[in-house]
Symmetry: C2
Subunit: 210 residues, 2 copies
């Protein structure tokens, strides 16, 4: 097998295992076995276990996850923002977030491990992704407050509430309630509910959002 392809394969095995068992819970032997090669091959492609972790950060998958913001290439969302369709804005961000999180559980777990273990991924995710979300969505809330459409609540608190619902819901599905014992609903239903909940909390009008 050519070097590039093998390298990719080992990297993928490492992502799988690090996301399942964490960095210190994964051995280079495990990674080699899952890749179907000997341990020596792992160290031929990556000079150390740490470098292997570093390579994951640079890998296509992580870079994408870190830089593909909800609003990029999301026509429905951009349209909603332009038209000041508040429900559309929150609903589309919600759907996008829940779908993404559901489709890449390995990345989510990697992210949580890295936050606990104090690895670089968590820091980068926070600085490059989360902060941007606060800026973007918080900015939208500010604009709607200037329009007189939203109540004058700290926009950051609005964003925190909304992200809280989304992330906690995913976290539940990924970590605790994998078999959906408590609640088994579609991402669409969840996003709809969360968006409505936020809107009735921030809307200046007396009638709650429908």
């Amino acid at each position: 097998m050519p070097g590039d392809k093998r390298r990719e394969q080992i990297l993928q095995s490492a992502v799988d295992l690090f996301s399942k068992r964490g960095f210190s819970g994964t051995t280079t032997k495990d990674i080699a076995r899952l890749s179907g090669v000997s341990e020596a091959m792992v160290f031929r492609h990556f000079s150390s276990k740490d470098e292997l972790y570093g390579a994951i950060l640079e890998a296509k998958k992580c870079s994408e996850a870190l830089h593909q913001f909800p609003w990029e290439g999301n026509q429905a969302l951009l349209k909603a923002i332009e038209e000041r369709d508040d429900f559309g804005v929150f609903y589309n961000i919600g759907i996008q977030a829940l779908t993404k999180q559901e489709s890449d559980i390995a990345f989510m777990r990697l992210l949580f491990y890295s936050a606990l273990e104090g690895h670089e991924l968590a820091e980068r995710f926070f600085g490059e992704y989360v902060l941007e979300i606060y800026k973007f969505l918080g900015g939208y809330v500010e604009r709607r407050q200037a329009d007189g459409a939203f109540k004058r609540i700290d926009p950051r608190l609005v964003v925190r509430s909304f992200l809280g619902m989304l992330i906690h819901h995913s976290l539940n599905n990924i970590l605790w309630d994998k078999r959906r014992l408590i609640l088994d609903i579609s991402n669409e239903e969840a996003a709809k509910h969360f968006a409505e909940m936020i809107l009735s909390g921030v809307s200046a009008e007396r009638t709650a959002a429908k």
Copy 2:
């Protein structure tokens, strides 16, 4: 030092280290050093590292965290429930949760590690604690729906939204935004905001909760 006290001391060191670095990221040597004893002492009190983890589950601290529900001994909350003071109910649960989570960061981290690593603590926490919260708070929501005071939304979705805000806020403070770069507010402010947000989302009246 007497056996009981030493045992307690080693257990505490283990909690500290497991919560900081996870199970596989912590060595028995680390635990011994932090306890100020030799490694042999650790194995005198606990026959294996696994048993040490098991003992943590049985320890006073974890049992308390697993069985001290927000409504036990919380007069303000019980009074609010009796009086159907909706804001009081959500606000007091919020304060209680945020305060507890802030005061026992080690337990929170242990809980997250255990969820990722698939240890028993996470399962027990979910089955013995989280489910009870859903029953209790969901039950209150149902009662208020019967009163005609709350909209007919799935109570579990209401609870999920509220817990989402609370847990995500704590998680942010513990894991990502330790220096409170995005948002630095008191637990009281946060609980007040989250309670108001939920209430305006579920209230049947046309005027949002103040």
